[in-house]
């Protein structure tokens, strides 16, 4: 710590150069931090996916329906604890850009299947007692400024009503919180009985099933058993673990994780060159001074340490500011105008990786200049 003053004064010797280097590092780590949140958003669900849950959909595609009768049949398969259904409603609230997912569900079974959606008991009661009731996650409620008791009109794009109208009105009876940081709190769920009775067509059909299994280790085997049960029927199924299902969903958009990793890697190597160049220049300019330090009694290793510490200090300055700025920007939440990234936060794991990267950058950028400082012969350096 007593060397901090010396390190700092050396950094501020060429202020512009240091500021530019720090800014460049800042940008790289801002990019890293922000893209971490984006990658996390695309990986949404994969990490929070229940290991004991399978998703069962129509073999051809998710937009094809499955009969409601499958629920009982699946529950009879050995290893299946419970099955609940969901259906894509795809309605519009006020205007299309206000996108969020809406699904009719069986309240009791559904919330049992998804314990990560946390609802206050009175709101839970209200959901059971209100036929037109709906619940939504805090993110969506905050986005539109909804409060419990509000009446939410949603314009159907798929499901017109028996009376010929397309406007469905729901009474918001509850707002759920996520049990974990990664829990999706954008969903909007309403009652299947109300939906099934009022919809103009498709009665008795649902979108897909979530199945809870007794033993996550047997997931593959049970998924096979389910698909076998419905083989050679008009609606064959494809069952897969929830995580794999979500991943498949994300992969449709592109392998975001790979793209993010590529961008961050390029940014990191650019920074390595920029910072390495700064340190090399800085050491070259100071050969004489480093010689003086050695003459005064600093050891070779001591001088090596000073150079590395200086390099790390630059990296820490830029990196910490960059990560902090990223965290601040991420805290504003989903940047997409259509709210298509329901889970958007800076994962703790990536903060740790960021800090490790900062020090790797500092050490790597300072390596050759420090080596040069280490090898510098005292008498030779003084002679210049």
């Amino acid at each position: 710590m007593k060397y901090l003053h010396l390190l700092w004064r050396n950094l501020t010797r060429k202020k512009l150069r240091t500021v530019l280097t720090v800014l460049a590092i800042l940008v790289a780590f801002l990019l890293f931090g922000y893209l971490s949140a984006v990658r996390q958003a695309f990986n949404m669900g994969i990490e929070v996916a229940g290991a004991d849950r399978l998703i069962v959909r129509h073999k051809v595609s998710i937009i094809q329906f499955l009969p409601i009768s499958y629920e009982r049949r699946m529950e009879q398969i050995e290893g299946v604890a419970d099955a609940v259904h969901q259906t894509w409603f795809g309605g519009v609230y006020q205007e299309p850009k206000n996108f969020f997912a809406q699904m009719p569900v069986e309240p009791v079974e559904f919330l049992e299947m998804y314990p990560e959606y946390v609802l206050e008991p009175p709101e839970y009661e209200a959901f059971l007692n209100t036929r037109t009731g709906a619940i939504t996650g805090v993110t969506t409620a905050e986005r539109f400024g909804w409060k419990v008791g509000d009446r939410i009109p949603i314009e159907a794009t798929i499901w017109s009503k028996k009376d010929g109208t397309r406007t469905w009105e729901f009474d918001l009876v509850g707002i759920y919180e996520g049990a974990e940081k990664g829990t999706d709190t954008t969903g909007f769920f309403f009652r299947y009985d109300y939906f099934d009775e009022a919809r103009a067509w498709g009665e008795g059909n649902v979108g897909w099933y979530t199945v809870r299994i007794d033993d996550p280790d047997r997931a593959a085997e049970i998924a096979e058993a389910i698909d076998r049960e419905f083989a050679n029927s008009p609606a064959e199924t494809k069952a897969e673990p929830e995580g794999a299902f979500m991943q498949g969903f994300a992969k449709q958009i592109g392998d975001v994780a790979a793209i993010v990793t590529a961008i961050v890697t390029m940014a990191f190597f650019t920074m390595l060159l920029v910072t390495g160049n700064t340190m090399a220049q800085s050491v070259r300019e100071r050969i004489g001074e480093l010689g003086v330090l050695k003459a005064l009694g600093f050891t070779h290793r001591g001088v090596l340490g000073l150079v590395l510490a200086e390099s790390c200090l630059i990296a820490v300055l830029g990196g910490a500011l960059g990560l902090a700025l990223a965290a601040w920007l991420v805290s504003f939440g989903d940047p997409t105008p259509t709210a298509s990234l329901p889970i958007f936060y800076f994962p703790a794991r990536d903060v740790v990786i960021g800090v490790v990267l900062i020090f790797l950058l500092g050490l790597a950028a300072g390596f050759f200049p420090a080596l040069r400082a280490l090898r510098l012969q005292t008498a030779d350096a003084l002679r210049r």
Binding site: L6, R9, G288, A295, L296, G297, F298, L382
Partner: protein, 232 residues
Amino acid sequence: MSESNNVLVRVHDVDKVFRRGSEEVHVLGGAHLEMPDGEFLALMGPSGSGKSTLLNLIGGLDRPSEGTVEVGGLRIDRLSDRKLAGWRARHIGLVFQFYNLLPVLTAERNVELPLLLTHLSRAERRKHVAAALGVVGLKDRSQHYPRQLSGGEQQRVGIARAIVTDPTILLCDEPTGDLDRTSSDEILNLLSALNEEQGKTIMMVTHDPHAAARASRTLYLDKGKLATEPEE
């Protein structure tokens, strides 16, 4: 001076070989030197005769190719780099022709540098620094940067840095070489005072006969030989 049996520096038969391409240059060619404790020795000689080289060997900044260097009874030519660095920090005070202050540090912080290698606390370091700056008469300039000081003042800061650890011996390589007469005299007065009042052993390389006259003994180095008289 010479009647004292208390020999502090004993240089025996040293040579230093430098390579210039394929050519080997022998600089000292077996020089001998003994310095008693408390001596103020001036070392003169033509440029390139090896004065700085000899000074560097005594200060442990470099190693002899041949011969031995003993300071305070310790064979410093045998110490490892690491031990030698520690030894320098404790026993050697260096004063350079071009001061060699760090431009980014104030006078006070420059003087503090050698103390960073000790276990002294910040408060203790400050006390020593203030004392050293007091000795050279620059207490009121402690917050100035080198560029804000005249050459003579910078050299006084250099001397303060050299004495702040209370070293065994002060090695000055042309300390007045870059200064005008007045400033030179101030520096020489300071070195004399350190020698006479505090009993510091000083070895000073110089080209200036005026400066050499202030020393208690003058040696001339030429063609690898140390003599008490300059050669023709």
